[in-house]
Amino acid sequence: MTATTGQAAPPSRYLLHDKPLWRRLLLRPEAALILALVLVVVLSIVLVPHYLRPNANYTFSTLLLNAIPILFLLLPLMLIIVTGDIDLSVGSVLGLSSATVGLAVQAGIPLLVAAVMGVLVGAMAGVINGVLVTVVGLPSLAVTIGTLALFRGIAVGLLGTTAITDFPPEITKFFSGSIPGTPIPWQLLFWIVLAIVFGVLLHLTPFGRGIFAIGRSIETATFSGVNVNRTRLILFVLSGLVAGLAGVFFTLQYSNAIGSNGNGFELRAVTAIVLGGVSIWGGRGTLIGAIVGGLFIAALNKSLQVFGVGDDAIYVITGVALIVSVVIASIAGFISRRRKVQASVA
């Protein structure tokens, strides 16, 4: 029992905790996932031969570099899922942005301008999704399935079977490189800034409370004064914007603009988010959980890769991980509901 002894009537039920803070933290789904992440890395170091070859920095920097596109995509996508919507087009927006950057550079436009164009194309894609969802009033699932095909189709149509690979080597070296002596990629610094912005936005601002409120109940949120459609529109635009940015970074990291860039990334991002304890029904979850989910998948992929399992097995495992994580969430929800019913009966 914590500090409420001595007060005649506790002010609020929510301030009463029967367990100390460290136990409550340990019981959160994020804690289990962090544990699983550490376990995967430790077990890989011990069990997988050549895991730390040629050195530990190399292993972890490639792990992080592979994870970064997904880590970018999942920041706004997590917020969208908390409102109860979904954006399945993120991987295609990444590809469209990548194609834009590639074609712009090929046409002789300076790289910085090309990069801005890529981000703007992403934002425009987000505006299209957002307007169709909020103004026209269509379900986000249907809209983004359509634009998933549409944006990918445009990227493939524009580039055809060509790959644009001539980007300035010093730039691509920066985007695929790490801070000397550490496994931390330069790109990760951009991402950390963005992650802090999104974390503050979701967890510490009225706008963020509104996001959770929308996920719990759109009606209640509306009557509480949340501008529901404005919030949803902003989130879709942010999602497009960040996916556009991720497309620019991805292109420069791999020095390659092809039509299939980012194919299937929506699966990996959604899996990371759901795995991180964010409810697919909306209204529940933490950004840190989603991020750990992304890192967990990346670590798992890396271990399997070093172990010699091909990329295709990784698709199977990601798909199964997605299903297992929602099934576990569903069963956990069922058990906790039943406990609540029993508690209220007792």
């Binding site: 269509l138 379900p139 699966l267 697919i280 091909g310 698709y315 929602v326």
Partner: protein
Amino acid sequence: MTAVIKTTPARRSFGEWLFRARELSLVLLILIVIAVTTIAQPTFLFNDGGLRDLLRTPAMLIVVAIGEAIVILTRNIDLSVGSILGLTTYFVGNLMHTAPGIPVLVDVLLGVVFAAVLGLVNGLLVAFLNVPSLVITLGTLYAYRGIAVLWIGGNFVRPEWVPDGFQGFGKDGVLGIPWLLIVAAAVMVFFGWFLAGRRTGRELYAIGSNPDAAVLYGLRTRRLTFITFIISGALAGVGGIIYLSIFATGDSKVGTGYEFQAIAAAVIGGVAIVGGSGRIWGVALGAFFLATLGSALPVLNVPSLWQQAIVGLLIVAAITLDRVFFLVRQRRARKAVMV
């Protein structure tokens, strides 16, 4: 409201009428596509097998789209049909190769059962664990595709594996109508009758229009949802078998992205993406239109690379137009009440 509600028949604009008579406008669109393409390139219709290809190519999409439409009707979605289709193609082709003693009909039936089991996994997870179908089938989309790649690798079905009789079934027909189109038409007639006329069929619409009300009404929604996914899987399998009979080959990539075509055909054919409304023969026409457009584009010198973009555009356009006309009708109905 004290005022008498005026019952003047709502006047419809021509565009709305045309759009609501969805099947008619689809028939017109199909004819326009065929006419334009034939004028640009007469061999499209009038060369050896041109008409046959025109009639048999849509069969595959029709069958798969009908399965998808049945799932969408209940306010769910099945993203895994393309992967199921691909796996079934190789499963049946491989069966014909490794066990040539088995009659082809048994091969085909085993293929459908195989696909139905893949759909059953989706159905179990969606119906009995209350997990959104989107998430489950997104997972199985990649899981099944991954299994296909692991199993098949760089291998592929070789034409000599596939018995000549079966390939003939894909080529020939009766009275100029390909067998494959007859199969698709039979699937259409059966499920059209089932959904429009049978009690269970009507219950599927009820689930789609209001899932909560359907539960309160006493419908066994879980069981019905479960069954729709089995149907969708099985029909995707039939699609894979049709693919095999047309092309007599198939690698691990068969059917990639086909879920978009199926969804597009369903929504173009008038199935509401939020469930509860739509007709099967509309879906069949939507699929026919999409498949015809797909084979017309390369003839019209539009690179096939753009096909996916067009499919995406058609999905977005179809659901947007549906919604806009719904809003217009709603506004008009509200005005009528106010008078």
